[in-house]
């Protein structure tokens, strides 16, 4: 995988994968493998995937994001997907794609407050 497409930053116990440009399926698989490996290596407790730059999220991408969340969960880390744009969100629900079981937040800032500061906000109740 070309690392520059989604570099992974480490911030304390949190890993931040910042997607820089459109991802091919292979890039997504690479990101998944790398993230899961690094969660294990750094004993991370949370993962944030920032997809602000993506103007399309297809079924493969949605499934991969869900898989990352489930895999990191097994390793003891929460995954939050941030930065899904209004148009992307609308297109996704039209296609019936949801990120069930995955936490989402508006942007990186919200994700950090979601993870670090308890604001009594829970997702995934449904």
């Amino acid at each position: 995988m070309n690392r520059s497409r989604a570099p992974i930053l480490k911030l304390g116990d949190t890993l931040i994968a910042s997607v820089q440009e459109a991802l091919m399926d292979a890039d997504l698989v690479g990101l998944r493998d790398e993230l899961v490996a690094e969660v294990k290596t750094y004993r991370a407790t949370s993962v944030i995937i920032d997809v602000t730059v993506l103007d399309v999220l297809d079924s493969f991408a949605a499934r991969t994001l869900r898989h990352i969340a489930q895999m990191t969960q097994l390793l003891g880390a929460r995954t939050v997907v941030v930065g899904i744009q209004p148009d992307v969100a609308f297109a996704m629900v039209q296609l019936g794609l949801t990120l069930e079981g995955t936490e989402t937040a508006l942007d990186l800032e919200d994700a950090l407050s979601l993870l670090n500061i308890k604001i009594g906000r829970e997702r995934g109740a449904h």
Binding site: I84, Q85, P86, A89, F90, M92, T98, A105, L106, G120
Partner: protein, 318 residues
Amino acid sequence: MENKETLLPEKSIPSSEVSLRKAFLEFTDDDVAVLESVNEAATHYADSVIDDFYKHLLSFDETRSFFADPAVLSHVRNMQKAYFKRLTQGNYDAEYVADRIKIGRIHERIGLPVKSYFGMYCFYLRAVLKRLRDEYKEMPEKAYNIFDSLMKLTFFDIGLAIDTYIESREETIQGQEEAIRELSTPVLLLRPGLLLLPIIGLIDTRRARQLTEQLLRSVRANRAMVVVIDVTGVPSVDTKVANHLVQTVEAAGLMGAVSIVTGIAPDIAQTMVRLGIDLRRIRTVGDLQSGIEEAERLLGYSVVKNSDATSRCGKDGP
């Protein structure tokens, strides 16, 4: 009256459309020639026709009310006479068409009913027919030709005028539709991070789409974390509406906002269960108040009531 006329926006139709209309009515240059040939005779009996015309108009309450002002009456009378003469002056060109459209718009604006409009044209034609019969007793063929041409031209005029009636109504309807559309989907910021989306009226596919788009944009603009969607004003919910609702909630969820749906009426709840609509993926609470309280709880707000100036009765949210 003159001032009002200039206030009306100029409307015109393309010359190709004018030719098409004339062709459809079989209105040809021959007709123009026939009409021009009776100009003199028409001028001669114009006054008597117009007299009869207004006598008829003023003998009905409904149409009389439009001419209560004597100044207006004398003005429109002159206009009417000019129009009557104009009918036999040839040159039925773009200017003539623009004039007809303008007159139609004026009549539409003052609210002259279409039935009166038609009625007066009918009266017009009959008044002329009567005079033609007397004038050309010996030449019924000629009288027939004149009336034939005149009828084509007046129907051409009627077509133009009625189109302006319809067009004006369409414009009104369109404007109202737009107003309703804009009014119908307000997204209100209730507290920092808390949006309220009251839905009133029927939800169709187009509106659902617009609603969702507006909500998503507001979520981003206001950094909302919780959205309360109140459906008290939605008269009925079927499978389609429920799906729209689920989509809206899920789309907001993808952007990190939790949605709470409130205000589902008892009979709607019954219908939904009977239809087998599954709303388990949506958080619902009974009424708007509970919805706001739930949202405040999620956001960590607590509402404290000030019972009076001196003593405070601390009361956390439920």
